[in-house]
Symmetry: C2
Subunit: 359 residues, 2 copies
């Protein structure tokens, strides 16, 4: 008898995909065309006490904030504006009501920034605390950001620094390791872990840039050979969004690899261009810093692939820590290039991980 | 420190409502106005192994069917057509993959009847098996069926028999008690428990009847003093749906009481009119039969309040076991009248329950 642990959560999800229509899954969220002008975007997450959050490192307010942020980030990664979330809770009878209210307080604080209501929920008895959030949003069908739409020649943009959330978690687990950091630096890294910001603010900039006819025309040429799923309505090439992307919740390396796999392309990343927290400079070796940035996860930034001119404009408009970190190639590999170091390019690979990084 | 068990799940839900906008909660599902022509309806449920399902009485296929049916029933109770569901699973590593696939098989079998896809999900590690489903559907804003819209004089319609699901559960727990029933009768009651049908089929009949101008005019007179939530757009009186309702998932008594509380009205039910499974006639006392019907729950029929003429037409069209079981009164109590028995009317009350029923 095959058990869940024998094939893992990812293996099980793959087996269960045969119960789902092939054209709505495999992205940060599902897209349902309900209307010619608006598609419904839906994403769901379950979080279990001791697995995804723990009172040791996470207050109930922060657990709530992080859960809400993760779901809003999935919507942002699809280009969607949030409409609301539902919250289902499984709770042991001995849990304090105050804990639950604090969890809701944290969720609400995150959601209110984006005028997103909690529109419903369920509370049930359970031997273990667990939390399931479903977020839904809407997007014009021509503005859906899909993983599988990256084009050879696209620039790869990240909307902010990577590695901060992982560093914050490390500091919470072992404050000792931060003794060479200033209090401000420590607080900033810990905040990056406890209160990540979904990057919904990026979308208006992106649409404004892409509505510029220059990029539209450029894109219509690139996209004409694309083959959308046969079950989806086929938009005219001019109307397709010239942007692919996802969020970096599972790490920057994962995001680039997933986009490349879904798009049937490769990428070259320039290690020196990956934006890192400034505190890393005098704290971590460059190898550690890159490990945190590529594999740490939970930074909840967007990783976007778009035509180079549009990418430059986007990075300028976002300012701060947004950067072009590489480009999409016709290869099938994702290479990490080290401009300033005398080490060869490395092939990024999730199963192999970054442990093999050595000069 | 107040604990969850001190105030119960319902008490906690009430406390958490302050985090939600007041105009979207308190019904079978939340309604979000996304468009003048379509509202989005969302409902969510969490089910926990040992609390809501158990391998003792429920195969994984049946657990999946029931979970899907309960969510589709909530959509039907709002007048909404389903668009899709998401499924989040918490699973122990030792669970068999086959169990999970069977759960999905059962969900899919129920959903396929209504062309409803599973559009996304999450699978996570958890010490206990749990399942969270979020279903979403759409409805024209003028056709939303709300609990709080019952009017004095409305007839109360149930779309089918009550008590069958509870009887089926009893038979599964103790097959001995069914020895006076035929195999067919036993199988029918068990099926009612294991494979309940959400009554989405009722909606087209309902709209056809209510689109008849006779009922529309009648309703515009009744509804003119209604005060919709100040945050919702106010439809013209002619366009309001002359129907209130919810599903009977928590029992028929609960449904009528909830509708009356939300509408600020009362009701008189005629006990002899409540449709019961025919097997009850030679199996249960009339007291037991009424107890099962009123308090058993999980029959997933619709309880609808609408003008008497429209109600008669609906019952005729639905045929089978649909019936008018009473009417809405200007009282605030829900009375159970016993036409054929020499016992006084009883006041239905959830906290008191039906144990006090005695001649």
């Amino acid at each position: 008898m095959t058990k869940v642990k024998d094939i893992g959560e990812q293996g099980l999800l793959e087996r269960l995909q045969r119960f789902c229509p092939p054209d709505v899954i495999g992205d940060d969220a599902a897209v349902l065309v309900t209307d010619p002008e608006q598609s419904l975007v839906v994403t769901t997450d379950m979080l279990v006490d001791g697995v995804h959050f723990s009172n040791a490192t996470t207050s109930p307010e922060d657990a709530g904030w992080r859960a809400a942020a993760a779901n809003l980030s999935d919507l942002a990664a699809m280009g969607a504006t949030p409409l609301g979330i539902t919250v289902a809770l499984g709770l042991p009878g001995d849990l304090s009501v105050n804990w639950v209210e604090s969890l809701y307080q944290g969720m609400t604080e995150c959601l209110q920034q984006y005028h997103t209501p909690i529109v419903g929920g369920d509370v049930v008895r359970s031997p273990i605390t667990s939390l399931s959030i479903t977020a839904f949003g809407q997007v014009h069908p021509n503005r859906i950001i899909r993983r599988g739409a990256a084009q050879v020649g696209d620039a790869i943009v990240v909307t902010g620094v990577h590695g901060a959330s992982h560093a914050g978690l490390k500091l919470l687990l072992d404050p000792q390791i931060g003794k060479h950091l200033t209090t401000t630096e420590q607080a900033a890294l810990i905040k990056a872990h406890q209160r990540p910001q979904p990057r919904l603010d990026v979308l208006p900039h992106l649409w404004k840039i892409l509505d510029n006819s220059k990029f539209k025309i450029q894109n219509s040429k690139l996209r004409i050979n694309n083959s959308p799923s046969p079950q989806s309505p086929v938009p005219s090439p001019q109307s397709l969004t010239p942007v692919a992307g996802m969020d970096s919740s599972d790490g920057l390396a994962d995001a680039v690899l997933q986009i490349c796999r879904a798009s049937g392309v490769g990428a070259v990343l320039e290690s020196s261009q990956i934006p890192l927290p400034t505190a890393f400079d005098h704290w971590l070796t460059s190898e550690q810093a890159l490990n945190y940035a590529l594999y740490g996860g939970e930074d909840f930034e967007l990783v976007l692939c778009l035509p180079p001119e549009a990418a430059k404009t986007l990075v300028q408009q976002l300012g701060q820590d947004a950067a072009i970190i590489g480009s999409i190639t016709s290869d099938t590999k994702v290479l990490l290039h080290h401009q300033n170091q005398k080490i060869p390019d490395q092939v990024l690979n999730l199963s192999q991980g970054f442990q093999h990084f050595s000069p």
